[in-house]
Symmetry: C2
Subunit: 167 residues, 2 copies
DNA sequence: CAATTCTTTCAATTATTATTGAAAGTTTTG
DNA sequence: CAAAACTTTCAATAATAATTGAAAGAATTG
């Protein structure tokens, strides 16, 4: 396969995969484009390569910057903003985890906490419900705790020591 | 909060959360309903409680059975099929992980493998691309391997031993 | 075996989400 | 400070995904 074909296919692949996981297809495609680009690109470049509108390109580049997956760069004598992606895949994984935790897991825990207090007389029904909610709270907290630990561990420790531990 | 209110809110919460993660809102709501129901429910019950159509209820119940999150039950003297959810949250987590692995991670790995072979003369561009793809392959494989390990570990080992290891 | 009861399918519709692109906003330049 | 160059916004539109419900299909019953 030609390099350019491969890059294009990767952009499609990443877009499809992202949209299965609740990430906007264009955002994932912009990310894939910048991830496989050796030089930083301006909005115009992104628009042209992906055949998307200025608004779409701008919005998704900004969103990728909010996720700390893309940085802004400027060059002397050029007024345009250029963008470059974080290339370290371990960093990418850590940052995505961190953001989803902040945006989704923490609010979920908040909501579950509210649901764990139920009024009314004790009953089997009530016990069953509060039991399920607290099981979910424990599960979420523990998976969350694991993600914290993994994010603090560096790649070497993670890929070396820990996996061996389970072998 | 009243028990019935809390259940309804939980159904909404689970539906919203699911749709953020690429799971159909109705499917997540049916799951939440069955998860917090002490008795098994028939299609009619699900339709009425969630105010959804017969087709929608049927399709999502079937899909939840495909995911091994819901079982079919029958009662003598009643021709209808009744449904009951797996209640063990650790089992639920394992089964969701297993299905997403099979449906998404494995095809992703397949696609990445295809992209890792690039024709044409060696170049810095090409090296960069194949490097990024193989980094991604390693990341995906390792996260996947971790999920295997976690699925094999039982709840006690997971929640006890391993977390301590990182403390 | 035909009537009944329940389940499944799927084309049409509705709802949701993403995208466009022109206009407004901002920054830089001479 | 006004023109130029670039960025951002957002109402309108388009694309995608979910839902409906009537009809067809299966299974069960008497």
């Amino acid at each position: 396969m030609e390099l350019e074909t491969a890059k294009q296919q990767f952009i499609q692949l990443w877009g499809n995969f992202g949209s299965q996981w609740g990430i906007n297809r264009s955002m994932a495609q912009v990310h894939a484009l910048l991830l496989t680009s050796t030089k930083s690109l301006c909005t115009e470049d992104v628009m042209e390569t992906l055949s998307i509108s200025r608004g779409n390109a701008n919005m998704n580049i900004r969103e990728l910057m909010n996720w700390n997956l893309v940085y802004k760069e400027t060059f002397p004598g050029d007024r345009r903003e250029y963008f470059r992606a974080e290339k370290d895949v371990w960093e990418i994984a850590k940052r995505i985890t961190k953001e989803r935790k902040r945006r989704e897991i923490e609010p979920l825990q908040q909501h579950l906490a509210e649901l764990s207090v139920v009024d009314g007389p004790d009953s089997e029904e009530k016990e069953a419900f509060t039991g399920t909610i607290s099981d979910l709270q424990r599960l979420v907290s523990r998976l969350d705790g694991l993600s914290d630990t993994l994010m603090k561990a560096d790649e070497h420790v993670f890929f070396g020591k820990i996996v061996q531990f389970f072998k």
